[in-house]
C-alpha cells in the first residue's frame, strides 16, 4: 500500500466506523549522522523514517493512536485505538479538528542543495576538525565528541474537512567537544556550527570555540560561596530560558502548573525584558508556516517591556480561555498528543555588547555554562540550583576561569532583577535564544 492509499483508506474507514471528524498527522524524514573519535569514524547512522498519527472525534471526544507500520492491521489498530481513547478520556472540553485558515505564510525552510551534498564531503568535514584542534595547542589532547549531522523532514496534515497542508525543512550542523589536559587537570569546551547551507558550516569556528574554552577552563577553580553580581552569557541563557519555557504555556496555566496563570497585563519582568515567539524567523530551527493543528503561525511578544502580554495557546486552551489560538500547538514527535510549545523563543536584543555589560558590572561573575538542568531546575516553582562555570570579572575585564560552583535562584525573580539585555542575540543550536543578560545578583555555592 502506498502512503497516499493508506491515508485515504484510513480516513474512509474512520468515517465508516463512526468517527465524526478525523485528522492524520504524517511526518517523515531522512537523516545522516556521523561521529568521530580519536581521528577515526566511530559512529555512522543513516535513516529514513515515517510515522503517522490519527486523531478523531468519537462520541464527542477526541481520541489518539499512532503507528510506524503502514499495513491493514495498522488501520484497524489506529481506529480502535482512537475509539477506546475517546471513550475513556474524561476531558469534557469541546474539541475540534481545524477547518483551516484563509492564508498561510510562505516559508523557505528547505534548501534542496543540502540534500544533494555527498556523504564523503560530510565525513571529510568531520575528520578535519580534530587535526585542526590539536594544531591549536599541545594541551589539546583530543575531541571527545565530534559530530556532523544533516536531516530533512516533512510534515503533512490531512483531515476530513478537506484540509491538506504540507511543510518541509532541512538543516545541517556539526559540533565538537575539545579536551584539554595539563598535568592532572582536565577541561572541556564546546563548539558548534549550524546552517541550511552546507558551505556555511564553519569548521574554524567550531574548533576555535571548543579549544579556547577548554584551554581557558584548565585553570578553573571554584570561587568562595556568596552573593555575586552576575551576567549570564548568550550561549548559556537560552538553556535556562528553555527549561522554564513551560510556564508560558496556557495548557500548563490551565492545569495549575504555571505560576503565570491569570497574570496577563502584569509586570512580571524588568522593563528591559521583551520575550518573543517568532515562528516565521528566517533560519530559525522551529520556523514553520502552520502548527500541529493546522493553524497559521505568526510572531508575537509574550513579555513586552516587562509586561506579560499573552500565554501561548493551541485551539483547546484558546477556547477555554475565550481567545484565539496563538498557533503554538505542538507535538513531540508524530505520536504525541497536541500540546503547547513555543517556536523560536528569545529575549529581544538590546543595545550593549557583552564588553559593555561587563564594564557596567565592574566586579562579578559571568556564567557561560550550566548543567544538570533536568535535575536542578523546578519548572513549576521556578527554583533552580545548577552546576555552573564561567569566569570572574574585575574592573570590567575578564579575570579568572571558574568551575565547580552551583548557582541558585528563582526564574521569576531573575526576570524581575534583569538590569540589562545585551545586543548579542544567539541561538546556540536550539530554537531558544538570548543575548547576554545582566541578571543583577546570584547566590553561589563554591569553596
Amino acid at each position: 500500500m502506498t502512503t497516499e492509499q493508506f491515508i485515504h483508506q484510513l480516513l474512509d474507514t474512520a468515517k465508516k466506523r463512526g468517527l465524526s471528524e478525523a485528522e492524520i498527522y504524517l511526518s517523515s524524514g531522512d537523516s545522516f549522522r556521523a561521529m568521530s573519535q580519536q581521528g577515526a569514524l566511530s559512529n555512522y547512522t543513516v535513516n529514513s523514517t515515517r510515522g503517522l498519527s490519527l486523531r478523531g472525534i468519537y462520541n464527542g471526544k477526541m481520541g489518539y493512536a499512532a503507528t510506524e507500520a503502514f499495513d491493514e492491521e495498522a488501520i484497524d489498530m489506529l481506529i480502535s485505538g482512537v475509539m477506546e481513547s475517546a471513550l475513556l478520556t474524561e476531558d469534557d472540553s469541546f474539541q475540534q479538528i481545524y477547518q483551516g485558515d484563509e492564508h498561510y505564510p510562505e516559508m523557505d525552510c528547505y534548501n534542496p542543495e543540502l540534500d544533494k551534498v555527498e556523504e564523503k564531503r560530510k565525513i571529510d568535514f568531520l575528520l578535519s576538525l580534530e587535526p585542526m584542534a590539536k594544531a591549536k595547542d599541545p594541551r589539546i589532547v583530543q575531541l571527545s565528541y565530534n559530530v556532523i549531522s544533516t536531516s530533512s523532514g516533512q510534515v503533512r496534515i490531512v483531515n476530513t474537512h478537506g484540509l491538506d497542508l504540507e511543510a518541509k525543512d532541512n538543516i545541517a550542523y556539526a559540533y565538537a567537544s575539545a579536551v584539554a589536559k595539563e598535568g592532572e587537570r582536565v577541561a572541556t569546551g564546546m563548539g558548534m556550527t549550524i546552517s541550511r547551507d552546507f558551505d556555511k558550516l564553519d569548521a574554524e569556528k567550531v574548533v576555535n570555540d571548543a579549544t579556547e574554552e577548554a584551554l581557558f577552563m584548565l585553570a578553573a577553580e571554584p570561587v568562595p560561596s556568596g552573593t555575586y553580581r552576575c551576567i549570564i552569557e548568550n550561549r548559556c541563557m537560552p538553556d535556562l530560558l528553555s527549561v522554564f519555557s513551560g510556564v508560558f504555556s496556557a495548557e500548563n496555566a490551565q492545569k495549575g502548573l504555571s505560576l503565570l496563570a491569570g497574570k496577563e497585563g502584569e509586570m512580571i519582568a524588568s522593563s528591559a525584558v521583551t520575550l518573543m515567539d517568532d515562528p516565521l524567523m528566517q533560519d530559525g530551527l522551529t520556523s514553520q508556516p502552520f502548527d500541529a493543528e493546522g493553524v497559521a503561525c505568526f510572531p508575537k511578544a509574550v513579555i513586552e517591556n516587562g509586561t506579560f502580554t499573552t500565554l501561548l495557546h493551541n485551539l483547546k486552551t484558546a477556547r477555554k480561555a475565550g481567545c484565539k489560538s496563538t498557533g503554538n500547538a505542538a507535538k513531540s514527535g508524530f505520536a504525541g498528543t497536541v500540546r503547547v510549545s513555543p517556536t523560536n523563543f528569545y529575549f529581544r536584543p538590546g543595545e550593549k555588547s557583552l564588553a559593555e555589560l561587563m564594564d557596567d558590572m565592574q566586579d562579578g561573575l559571568v556564567i557561560t555554562e550550566v548543567s544538570g538542568l533536568h535535575a536542578g531546575a523546578n519548572a513549576i516553582s521556578g527554583d533552580f540550583s545548577l552546576i555552573a562555570q564561567g569566569y570572574t570579572v574585575k574592573g570590567g575585564k575578564k579575570e579568572k576561569a571558574v568551575d565547580r560552583i552551583t548557582v541558585a535562584g528563582n526564574f521569576f525573580q531573575l526576570l524581575k532583577n534583569i538590569r540589562a539585555v545585551g545586543g548579542d542575540l544567539l541561538f546556540p543550536g536550539s530554537s531558544t535564544g538570548s543575548p547576554s543578560v545582566d541578571i543583577g545578583e546570584i547566590a553561589v555555592a563554591g569553596k
Binding site: Q37, Q38, A40, L41, S42, N43, Y44, T45, V46, N47, S48, T49, R50, G63, Y64, A65, A66, T67, E68, A69, F70, M77, G81, E84, S85, L88, T89, E90, E119, Q142, S144, V179, A187, T188, K255, G256, L257, L259, A335, S371, G372, L373, H374, A375, G376, N378, I380, S381, D383, S385, L386, I387, D403, R404, T406, A408, G409, A443, V444, A445
Partner: protein
C-alpha cells in the same frame, strides 16, 4: 517477524562491500499509556513502533542504517546503504543462521495488552483517591504505561534469536502549593512484568502517600544552606548518584575513547574498601533486567567494583574490538532507531555492614538526603550534579528539619574514596537512563551510604 531466509539475504547484502560483521535487529513494539490529572482521565494513547536496523562493522568502524520499511525491498535497501559506507573492509565469513531459543528468566503472568484499559484506569483512580486526603496537594498527576516489545536479532556469526519483553510502570506526581509556591513529590515504580505487578509490587495508594508526603514536607521546608559537609544518602533512588557519577564512566562508550576518569584503572583501588558495586541483568523481573541483550547475547551479572577495587567495564561488541576485551552481555538500545552500545542494567552498591541509625548519629552536622531527584554527569571529567528531592539538615547527629533546593555536586572519582559508611538494607528504584543508544529502563540502587565530605549547593 523476521524470517530466517530474509535475515540471511540482508546480512549477505550488508557485507558485500567488505564489512567483516553484520547484524540485523527488527522490532515491533506496542506501547499503551494512560494519564489522569486531578481525577480525570486525560489521555489514552496507543502507539505501534515498527522498524529495523542494519549494522555493519569494518574493524573498529561501525555503520548503522535504519528504516520503518521492513519489506524485503526496504531491508535490502537499508543493507545496501550500510554497505555503501564501508570502503576497504577485509570481508566477513557469513555463517549459516541457526535459531537459538531464548531462555525466559522473567515470567509474565498477565500480558498488559490482554488487560482491559478500564482496569488500568481503576489503579489510577485508587492513587487519585488517596491523594484527595491531603488538603495541601493542589494538583495530582497519575499515569500508567505498559510496553510489549518483540525483537529479532541475526548476525553473520550465525546467531538468529529473539525475545519478548514486557514492561509495566506506574507514576504518581503530587504538587503541594501554598498559593505562591509549589513543591513536587513523586513515586514511579515499575518492573519487567505484566499487570500482575499490582498484586504484590505496586500499591497505588502507597505511591500516592509517598508522593504527597514528600511534596508537603518540602513545601514547609526552609532553603538548604550551601557548603561542604558530610552527606548521608538513603537507599533506593539514592543509587542514582553511583549511576550518574560512576556507572556512566564505566560504560565502554566512555572508556573506549579514553573519555572516562576510570580509564586504565582496572585492578586499582578507586573507592573505599566498603564499596562493592554490581551491574546485574539477571535479577528476575527487575526493571533493568533482560534475557538477552540487544546484540543477542545472554545477559549477565557483572561485578564493577569489589571492596573498592575496579573489576570490570561494561562492554558491547564494537567497543570490545576497540578495547581488545570481551563483551559483557550489556549492549542495549531504546529501539531500532539506535545502534546498541554498552549500557547499565540494574546497577547498585551492594549491602554493607553499617547500622543505619549509627550512620546518622555519628555524622555530626551535615545533610541527610532521604530522596534524590535526577542528575547528570560529564563523563570525561566525572563532574556531576544531583538535586535532592527530600533533604534534612542534621545537627550534632540528629535530624533537625527538612530543607529544600539542595543539590549535591562533585566528581565521581573523588566521592568514591570518601564513602565511609555503607548500610545493610539495599533497595532499588526505577529510572529511564538516556545515553548514546537512547533511553533504556534501568534500576539504580544502594543501601544508605555516607560521604564524609561533599559540596552541597543551596541558597
Amino acid at each position: 517477524m523476521l524470517s530466517e531466509q530474509l535475515a540471511a539475504k540482508v546480512l549477505a547484502e550488508a557485507v558485500k562491500t567488505g564489512g567483516d560483521f553484520a547484524e540485523i535487529f527488527l522490532e515491533d513494539r506496542l506501547n499503551h499509556s494512560l494519564s489522569m490529572l486531578s481525577g480525570k482521565v486525560e489521555t489514552v494513547n496507543s502507539l505501534r513502533l515498527h522498524g529495523a536496523g542494519v549494522r555493519v562493522f569494518s574493524g573498529t568502524q561501525g555503520i548503522y542504517v535504519y528504516t520503518n520499511d521492513t519489506t524485503e525491498a526496504g531491508l535490502i535497501a537499508c543493507a545496501r546503504r550500510a554497505a555503501g559506507a564501508i570502503l576497504d573492509g577485509k570481508g566477513a565469513q557469513v555463517h549459516p543462521l541457526s535459531w537459538q531459543d531464548t531462555k525466559n528468566i522473567h515470567p509474565i503472568l498477565l500480558r498488559p495488552d490482554q488487560v482491559k484499559s478500564a482496569r488500568k484506569v481503576e489503579k489510577m483512580r485508587a492513587a487519585q483517591a488517596a491523594l484527595k486526603q491531603y488538603d495541601e496537594i493542589a494538583q495530582a498527576a497519575v499515569s500508567y504505561s505498559d510496553s510489549l516489545q518483540r525483537v529479532w536479532i541475526a548476525n553473520t556469526e550465525g546467531l538468529f534469536t529473539g525475545d519478548t519483553r514486557v514492561y509495566t510502570r506506574f507514576f504518581v506526581n503530587a504538587i503541594a502549593s501554598n498559593g505562591t509556591e509549589n513543591q513536587t513529590g513523586s513515586a514511579s515504580p515499575g518492573a519487567m512484568q505484566g499487570f500482575e505487578i499490582f498484586d504484590h509490587r505496586i500499591d497505588p495508594e502507597a505511591c500516592a502517600h509517598k508522593a504527597a508526603r514528600q511534596a508537603i514536607t518540602m513545601l514547609h521546608a526552609p532553603l538548604c544552606p550551601a557548603g561542604v559537609m558530610p552527606v548521608v544518602i538513603d537507599n533506593g533512588f539514592g543509587g542514582v548518584i553511583f549511576h550518574e557519577a560512576c556507572g556512566h564512566s564505566l560504560e565502554a562508550t566512555s572508556v573506549a575513547p579514553g573519555n572516562s576518569e576510570f580509564c586504565g584503572k582496572l585492578g586499582r583501588k578507586v573507592a573505599s574498601d566498603k564499596v562493592t558495586a554490581i551491574d546485574d541483568g539477571t535479577l528476575p523481573n527487575e526493571w533493568g533486567s533482560l534475557n538477552i541483550d540487544d546484540e543477542g547475547t545472554p545477559t549477565t551479572r557483572l561485578v564493577l567494583i569489589e571492596n573498592g577495587i575496579l573489576k570490570n567495564y561494561m562492554i558491547d561488541k564494537l567497543n570490545a574490538r576497540k578495547m581488545g576485551m570481551p563483551i559483557t552481555g550489556s549492549s542495549r538500545r531504546q529501539g531500532y532507531m539506535y545502534a546498541p552500545t554498552s549500557r547499565m542494567r540494574n546497577t547498585y552498591i551492594a549491602a554493607g555492614n553499617d547500622d543505619e541509625a549509627e550512620i546518622i548519629s555519628s555524622m555530626g552536622d551535615g545533610l541527610y538526603a532521604k530522596a534524590m531527584g535526577g542528575g547528570s554527569v560529564e563523563p570525561s571529567t566525572g563532574k556531576f550534579n544531583f538535586s535532592v528531592q527530600e533533604g534534612y539538615l542534621v545537627k550534632d547527629g540528629k535530624i533537625a528539619h527538612p530543607v529544600r533546593g539542595a543539590s549535591l555536586i562533585g566528581r565521581g572519582s573523588e566521592i568514591l574514596p570518601l564513602i565511609d559508611r555503607v548500610g545493610k538494607d539495599m533497595q532499588m528504584a526505577q529510572g529511564m537512563c538516556g545515553s548514546q543508544s537512547g533511553s533504556v529502563p534501568t534500576n539504580v540502587g544502594q543501601p544508605m551510604i555516607r560521604v564524609s565530605s561533599m559540596t552541597v549547593g543551596g541558597r
